[in-house]
């Protein structure tokens, strides 16, 4: 069992989160027609932190912020090895004519994002959908999907596994493992 190599330390992660927040502020101003949607389950710790930083760095409170679960929209239902359990979806606003920022931790094959885009259409017709991820694994895509804001680009083999470890106190780090089986 190999140990994971840290590719993003806690200190750097905080800098990256600040940068991503500033990029969002640069593009979306006062967020009056923009909403944020975190993808369940692993996108939520990231979207929570981004929303908190938009409050502190941009003085933006009362943002339209929702959680989206894509379990029922996946294209691998019944073909996965492991069944998936659905998480909570909580979007108490319509996304019609809004700019939506989808947030997830790692962009890998692009299939989760495809499912999220199709799920999102059930809540209205957004004017624009953007994607923010902490880790963009650029060379592992199955679908033509790209991120608009990426914390870090990781070029790794298909079997490599990138894990974001969030801490309760708001910190965290990112490790890369040779394969998923190497994760303790």
């Amino acid at each position: 069992m190999g140990a994971g190599r840290i590719i993003l330390s806690e200190q750097k992660l905080n800098l990256v989160l600040d940068r991503l927040t500033h990029q969002l502020l640069e593009h979306h101003g006062d967020f009056s027609d923009t909403c944020i949607i975190g993808i369940q389950p692993r996108g939520i710790p990231l979207s929570d932190r981004i929303v908190r930083r938009l409050g502190t760095l941009g003085n933006l409170h009362n943002l339209q912020y929702g959680l989206l679960d894509i379990t029922f929209h996946r294209d691998d239902f019944r073909t996965r090895n492991e069944p998936l359990k659905a998480s909570v979806t909580k979007i108490d606003f319509l996304v019609d004519n809004k700019k939506v920022i989808l947030i997830d931790d790692v962009l890998y094959t692009g299939r989760t994002i495809q499912a999220a885009i199709s799920a999102l259409q059930h809540f209205g017709r957004p004017e624009k959908i953007e994607l923010l991820v902490l880790i963009d694994r650029r060379f592992n895509r199955d679908l033509p999907i790209q991120s608009d804001y990426a914390g870090m680009a990781v070029d790794a083999l298909d079997q490599a596994y990138v894990k974001v470890e969030w801490q309760e106190d708001g910190g965290g780090k990112v490790r890369i493992y040779p394969s998923k089986e190497d994760v303790k």
Binding site: E82, P83, K85, Q121
Partner: protein
């Protein structure tokens, strides 16, 4: 909760599933309730699944509820009712079902007048089977939606006191409810005329009370059943009027209780017999919430059975 799939391939009755199964169905139902309240109430999960709804007995609510659940999961549906089929030409149940399955059907939702018809079928066919009522035996999805509605209204089922009032003898809803509520840790009492309460029913872990007022004073929830005249070959009580006087729920009876109770009814209601019309429409009644929850519970059952791996 760690289990992500059901312990069984079929939903034949509550007797045959575990408490963990019930909780998994409830947690999945929570998410489907959110889905059916979206502007677009549909998810693509079962788009490669064909479901046959086989109704060998009449049904309105259950059938529409299953059909909506299947449609909202994007399944393909074929409907069948005994009155308009070759059953009237003498075909056996197994032949009918095998013929339907050879047309590549993945799941069967069936209502049948014979108790145990689903169990028999499950031994001979490969498709997932959901029991939508078998005679006077079980009606598992109704019990699940009843318990889910109690959980929604009162926060949990555990420790709650539920009285089931009416024609216990002929009611599959009563039997499934007894199993379900017991598994979830509720206390169950049955109330009705002695002729409509089966002998030795206490062996299922319930108590019996023949006085309606006493039973209602004890309970948090009253689940009121219809008198199933169509299943009664002999007279079990002198008249409907007399039944209604002794076992009918009315605002007058409720006003004498020391606390408010929740009133449920699986439908169809015979207004003025087992419950008065104003009470059925009152703030105590969650009858229409039960119907709404029925679609979400059935979506959860269909989804989890389709996801069941060997």
């Amino acid at each position: 909760m760690t289990n992500k799939q059901l312990s069984t391939k079929h939903l034949l009755g509550i007797k045959y599933i575990t408490r963990d199964d019930i909780n998994l169905i409830f947690e999945t139902t929570d998410q489907f309730k959110e889905v059916i309240n979206r502007p677009i109430k549909k998810v693509p999960s079962l788009r490669d699944i064909t479901v046959a709804n086989l109704f060998f007995e009449n049904s309105t609510r259950t059938r529409i509820s299953f059909e909506l659940a299947e449609k909202r999961l994007s399944a393909d549906i074929v409907n069948f009712s005994a009155s308009s089929s070759s059953v009237s030409k003498g075909e056996t149940l197994l032949d009918t079902v095998n013929n339907i399955l050879s047309m590549k059907v993945d799941m069967i939702v069936m209502r049948h007048p014979a108790p145990g018809a689903h169990m028999f079928l499950s031994r001979h066919i490969d498709a997932n089977i959901i029991n939508a009522g078998d005679g006077t035996h079980e009606h598992p999805t109704q019990a699940l939606l009843d318990a889910y509605s109690i959980r929604e209204r009162l926060g949990s089922v555990k420790g709650k006191k539920v009285v089931i009032v009416g024609d216990i003898k002929h009611s599959r809803v009563a039997l499934s409810n007894i199993y379900c509520l017991n598994k979830l840790g509720a206390e169950v009492k049955l109330c009705g005329p002695p002729t409509l309460i089966p002998k030795h029913i206490e062996s299922l872990g319930v108590t019996v009370e023949y006085n309606l007022r006493k039973a209602l004073e004890w309970c948090d929830v009253a689940n009121v059943l219809r008198i199933q005249l169509e299943r009664q070959q002999t007279k079990y009580f002198p008249s409907l009027r007399e039944y209604s006087m002794h076992y009918g729920l009315s605002r007058q009876v409720l006003n004498t209780l020391s606390k408010p109770i929740v009133i449920m009814h699986p439908g169809p209601i015979n207004r003025g017999v087992e419950i008065t019309s104003d009470l059925a429409d009152s703030e105590h009644s969650i009858i229409l919430q039960q119907v709404e929850n029925g679609v979400a519970v059935r979506m959860a059952a269909l989804y989890l059975l389709a996801d069941k791996r060997d």
